[in-house]
Subunit: 165 residues, 2 copies
DNA sequence: CGTTCTCAATAATAGGCCTTGTTGCGAAGA
DNA sequence: TCTTCGCAACAAGGCCTATTATTGAGAACG
């Protein structure tokens, strides 16, 4: 599932969050809801700032405006609530007032898939070696790692037998 | 450009190669052509047997029939020609008659992407460590490795500056 | 014999239209 | 002050239709 894009700019839809976009869309559809640019922008912002950071609604709003992504404040509130209800974001209970949100921890930074191309059987695994390689690659280009996902396409024993037989 | 097709497995859609199918589709559409189950089946077959093996049209036909995937012989010929023209398959020039086809070698088994989620900038890299991890994961489950692709989602220096600024 | 062609039948897409979830804005509530 | 509401305008996605690329079966080709 390699992604090769030539011109970088407005193709963020596809590139920014290949897996997330599909997941988010499916998740929304399952609830009869829609995938809108605004919701993507809000979630993408949290992906960008990384897992640790938390933002208030107003901060989200300002950051988005700052990066030329127009989303009204009301929609920011609505999106934060929605994404939180979907457990993509987590609402922090900070005692000093303002509510803040952060990326829910289920965004595996090191979560890989072993998929049989024959039957679709999927095994999940983690690998510190892969994570290390991803970090090295990112650092090598001066990038800041967000997450890395290794997709191993393979043939399970059963399907291999069918093929060879 | 590597293009992966998911096999007949229904649940594979999301995990196996969500973007890959899109790439092939886009590639076809760019030429005013369509993505059909037959074309997917032919290409998927080659993916399954792996990079080394080569098949004749008749063998492709038989194998597909053998796995309950109905594709007429004429369509097999047409698909082989089309996929070859797209450089997804390569036609072997075997002196002893019958033409044979194999998966085009540009299907890197160890070809990874470092993608900036901010601007879409993409860097490609290879990593023997990742390949090794993929092989280990496959072998650990008794799978036969076909290829592994690591997608590293990150933030490039420029976008990181914007975010932090 | 392996491969390509013919042609009616099939089906992948594009393009509209429509339904209804969402957005933006300003007012209202806490 | 921070957050939610109300409502008209907007737009994502589903459905349907028309278009036309593609398929399947068998004849024709070399």
């Amino acid at each position: 599932m390699s992604v090769l894009i030539d011109s970088a700019a407005p193709s963020t839809e596809v590139l920014a969050a290949p897996l997330a976009a599909g997941e988010l869309r499916a998740s929304l559809h399952g609830r009869g809801q829609r995938l809108t640019p605004q919701r993507q922008r809000v979630l993408a912002l949290f992906k960008r700032i990384g897992e640790g950071s938390h933002l208030s609604a107003e901060e989200v709003h300002q950051r988005l405006l700052g990066s030329q992504e127009k989303v009204s404040l009301a929609t920011v509130y609505r999106s934060l609530r929605l994404l939180s209800s979907m457990e993509l974001l987590r609402e922090l209970e900070l005692p000093e007032g303002g509510r803040r949100f952060e990326l829910a921890g289920d965004t595996h930074r090191n979560h890989h898939h072993l998929v049989c191309v024959g039957c679709g059987r999927t095994e999940e695994f983690e690998s510190s070696a892969v994570l290390a390689a991803g970090e090295q690659a990112a650092l090598g280009q001066g990038f800041r790692l967000i997450e890395c996902v290794l997709n191993v396409r393979a043939l399970c024993p059963g399907c291999a037998a069918v093929q060879n037989g």
